[in-house]
Amino acid sequence: MVDLVTVSEAQIWAWLEGVPDPEIPVISVVDLGVIRAVDVGSSDDVKITITPTYSGCPAMSIIALDIRTALAKRGIENLTLETKIAPPWTTDWLSAKGRAQLEDYGIAPPRAAGGPAHCPQCKSRQVEKISRFGSTPCKAQWRCTSCLEPFDYFKCI
């Protein structure tokens, strides 16, 4: 239980850093940019505002559940989760740390140029698109023509 001392917003953010994205568990929901606000009220009531990556993203309900579970473990019982669609999520909200984690995991991070900088495996710049869509709404399929490995590219939106 958290008692006597009011929990800080910074503390909540730190706890949320430990909640992974259910579909790309290498990155946290904070680094993905879907947590838009954390507000702590006067009686330790916590409000967290989340935004979906894509409007039909099936992971949203799991993300909400995972946040509830993680904060319940820390003694946060009075939690409100609000979904907000505006302003719409953009890959600009991915943190630098999140981008590096994606790359290490084998997912090329998004780039404004519209495609991966290089193969996340062998770093070759010789890459080609296989499909504009991939295994989740946020990814596309690319292939490295040097090491021949296919890889996911995080779509830039």
Partner: protein, 250 residues
């Protein structure tokens, strides 16, 4: 029914009906990558449906949810344009339809971002990013198939000839559109026709396809006055669970 409710049903039903049609390809598309692309496109559209119909249900204030509107309305309560309910037929027609709709959605949602109704503006801004991505892909695929083999070209020509007389309904203003314009929610759909025409001309030119020379338009979907025979069959599949087991959840 208020004009705003009708307007939101038109928005939501377009996304829902095309989303369901697109999902029919799941597991049977011509290539794995296309299967995934179609399923993801369908998912975006169903997500947009939840936003539009969710707001429609709120505006109606009759205690119905987005799910109730999707699963418990009958054919003549639907307000989608007819083009989106006709069967997929082949892959070519599916992508041609997607293109004709995407080319409308992009300027339309762009305009809706300026709506005086903040929720309409927010949903439009969210949907627009997805629609732009869909348009990139559907244009590219239509060009590839139109400028492909004799077989793919013939199929794309047949798809355009079949769908073109349905496309005009997207721009057919009526009394509801006028009321909606007067309340500052949206411009008249006809105002985005010029942009649609330009996109159509550019893409069809690159795809070596000729835009049919006809001004005939099928209509009746946006008002619910006359749907095609296909919508009932589609709803029979889409709504079967809620019709058989009312209130079922998981």
């Amino acid at each position: 029914m208020t004009p705003l409710f009708e307007f939101l049903l038109r928005q939501g039903d377009n996304a829902l009906v095309l989303g369901h049609r697109t999902s029919e390809w799941c597991g049977v598309a011509p290539a794995l990558e296309e299967d995934i692309a179609l399923a993801n496109t369908a998912l975006d559209l169903i997500g947009q449906t939840q936003l539009w119909l969710g707001y429609a249900a709120e505006v109606e204030g009759a205690g119905r949810s987005a799910n109730d509107l999707a699963y418990l309305r009958d054919v003549y309560d639907f307000r989608n344009v007819l083009m989106l309910e006709v069967p997929n037929a082949d892959f070519g027609r599916t992508l041609m339809r997607q293109f004709l709709f995407d080319a409308f959605q992009v300027p339309w949602l762009t305009a809706l971002q300026g709506s005086d109704d903040q929720q309409v503006a927010d949903i439009a801004a969210k949907s627009l990013k997805e629609a732009q991505y869909h348009l990139d892909r559907s244009s590219e695929t239509v060009i590839m198939l139109g400028d492909g083999t004799d077989e793919s070209h013939a199929r794309m020509k047949a798809a355009l000839d079949y769908l073109f007389p349905y496309a005009g309904e997207m721009f057919a203003d009526d009394a509801i559109d006028t009321a909606i314009r007067e309340s500052g929610v949206a411009p008249l759909p006809s105002t985005v026709r010029t942009q649609w025409n330009e996109t159509l001309r550019r893409v069809m030119n690159e795809a070596y396809l000729t835009i049919p020379d006809t001004t005939f338009n099928h209509s009746g979907g946006r008002t619910g006055f006359r749907h095609t025979e296909y919508l009932g069959h589609m709803l029979a599949t889409m709504q079967t669970l809620q019709r058989s087991y009312p209130g079922a959840t998981w």
